[in-house]
């Protein structure tokens, strides 16, 4: 049934945005601001910088909405703007290199199968574990971090991530694997509970 169109349907909102309908853009912001900010906040260590960059994402998106051709999902396009701005900021700061070198703990973690008894609900309860996870993500290389966040937090598939970050599909897979290895290593003290197999 294609009778009436929902005015808040995303396709409809995007079309209105292209006609400089600011109200339509406000609706889009309200839908995506939490996701974008959470992504940017984890990509950048400084909270106020994350706030600036998130604002920049929406300003840039508003100014260039006409260049969005609809071939990729709108989220892909929006996260592409966000990740590019985060990379620019990180490069300016040059806090860490882009090395993917693994310390011995991470290498060891990757060689062992991850614990299938890990319970995501534990994370909700054990704030200490969550802090360790957030710290591990924050300390991660700028190459690994966005892949992990876009896949495991935002639920994007490999191809979407490849399109968002402008990297090959194989690189997405290898970086995701390495990123999770870092997390395994960081969470090792919280897991097992005496079960060593």
């Amino acid at each position: 049934m294609t009778g009436g169109s929902d005015p808040y349907d995303e396709t409809h909102l995007i079309r209105r945005c292209r006609e400089q309908d600011t109200e339509a853009f406000r609706w889009l912001i309200s839908r995506y601001q939490a996701r974008i900010f959470s992504f940017v906040r984890r990509m950048l260590p400084d909270a106020s910088e994350a706030e600036d960059v998130t604002q920049e994402v929406f300003v840039k998106a508003y100014r260039s909405i006409r260049s969005y051709d609809g071939r990729a999902a709108f989220t892909t396009w929006l996260f592409k703007i966000a990740s590019n701005l985060c990379v620019d900021r990180a490069r300016r700061r040059k806090r860490r290199g882009d090395s993917l070198s693994l310390d011995s703990a991470a290498r060891q973690a990757l060689l062992m199968p991850a614990d299938s008894t890990w319970d995501p609900q534990q994370l909700a309860v054990a704030s200490e574990m969550r802090e360790a996870l957030e710290a591990a993500i924050a300390a991660m290389s700028e190459k690994l971090k966005p892949v992990l966040l876009l896949h495991d937090l935002e639920g994007m598939d490999y191809q979407q991530i490849a399109d968002t970050l402008g990297i090959p599909l194989g690189t997405v897979k290898s970086r995701l694997f390495l990123a999770r290895g870092h997390l395994q290593s960081a969470l090792a003290p919280f897991m097992g509970g005496g079960d060593e197999s």
């Binding site: 996701r35 199968p113 991850a114 995501p120 996870l133 999770r180």
Partner: protein
Amino acid sequence: MNDWITKLANEEKLTPDEEARLVAALEAQADSKLPGLVAALPRYDVPAGVVAGFEKSLAKRTRVRFASGLAACAAASLAVFMAVDNRGQTPEVVEQASADSLYDWHNEAVATSVLPGDGANLAAFSQVARNGETQ
């Protein structure tokens, strides 16, 4: 033994076997619920400054556009005003031409004794004018 992991860290090209190994390892990680731990991370609350900053940027952009439009209207109005104002200058040019021709006529008339010069006998002039005599 760890060679393929080193290759991953160096972002070197993998052999087909190594690629298959990577795919299997990713599936194992997915089964471990480790991704679930990441997925369970909470969303941050968006600071009010994000939307406020965007609105400010939008308002500034609107003001710049409004000012440009206003300037364009002002320029157009000034052009129209000047065009209308200049139309009043045309009759002045015509009158000046008339005055010049009357002045020239008088001088010529004096020079040919049709009109008396300074101190001339007006009665004699009148006679000349009535007779149509010229010198």
